[in-house]
């Protein structure tokens, strides 16, 4: 069955430090992969997506992610974080034959400290 695991529930980091938020998925078919960010008391905003092609995907706000098919991973990275990056981050997967169904991970709370 399709599932998404975000390996860290909380990631504290100092401002201007690099960060990696880890995501692994399981699926027996081709998938589309997404990262969304959720600020307090708000909906989800798309950060980036992998549909096909280059495995390194660049998104908004300086974030990027790399799709690794052999390791079934889609880790999110940013070389230098800001206080404003403090939020909840969700990894999600959609199977090629499942239409609109997004399966989300449990989320990673990124806390950026001054």
């Amino acid at each position: 069955a399709q599932s998404v695991t975000q390996l860290d529930s909380q990631v504290p980091v100092f401002e201007e430090a690099p960060v990696e938020l880890r995501c692994n998925y399981s699926s027996s078919v081709s998938v589309y992969l997404f990262w969304y960010v959720q600020y307090p008391n708000q909906g989800l905003q798309l950060l980036l997506k992998y549909l096909s092609g280059s495995t390194l995907v660049k998104g908004i706000n300086g974030f990027e992610a790399e799709f690794n098919k052999s390791q079934t991973s889609f880790h999110l990275r940013k070389p230098s974080v800001h206080i404003s990056d403090t939020a909840e981050y969700f990894c999600a997967v959609s199977e090629e034959n499942q239409g609109g169904k997004l399966i989300f991970g449990q989320g990673t709370e990124l806390s950026v400290k001054p």
Partner: protein, 116 residues
């Protein structure tokens, strides 16, 4: 362009009551999906509608129902509310081309439902 809009923003109900949540998709988007996000968890898929037809259903009881209107807006109905239905209900819209994948989903701000 306006994004996905949802109403109301907040709602308080008591157990056993019924609730209707509303969603307007981005202009030009024909697909609407509904998700439930319980505090501290990731969103869970409830329904997807495309061109007014149900195209997907998650693992939710029959108390949950939805529909899509000719203008592509959508309503989510929940009957016989339980305490466990307290959550943020998110609506997402996409171009939604069946057979070619859904396309990217864009989320609204959500409706926060509290059941007492």
């Amino acid at each position: 362009d306006a994004g996905v809009t949802q109403s109301p923003t907040h709602l308080i109900k008591t157990r056993g009551q019924q609730v209707t949540l509303r969603c307007s998709p981005i202009s030009g988007h024909k697909s609407v999906s509904w998700y439930q996000q319980v505090l501290g968890q990731g969103p869970q898929f409830i329904f997807q509608y495309y061109e007014k037809e149900e195209r997907g259903r998650g693992n939710f009881p029959d108390r949950f129902s939805a529909r899509q209107f000719p203008n592509y807006s959508s309503e989510l109905n929940v009957n016989a509310l339980l305490l466990g239905d307290s959550a943020l209900y998110l609506c997402a819209s996409s171009l939604g081309v069946p057979g070619l994948g859904l396309g990217t989903q864009y989320f609204g701000p959500g409706t926060r439902l509290l059941v007492l």
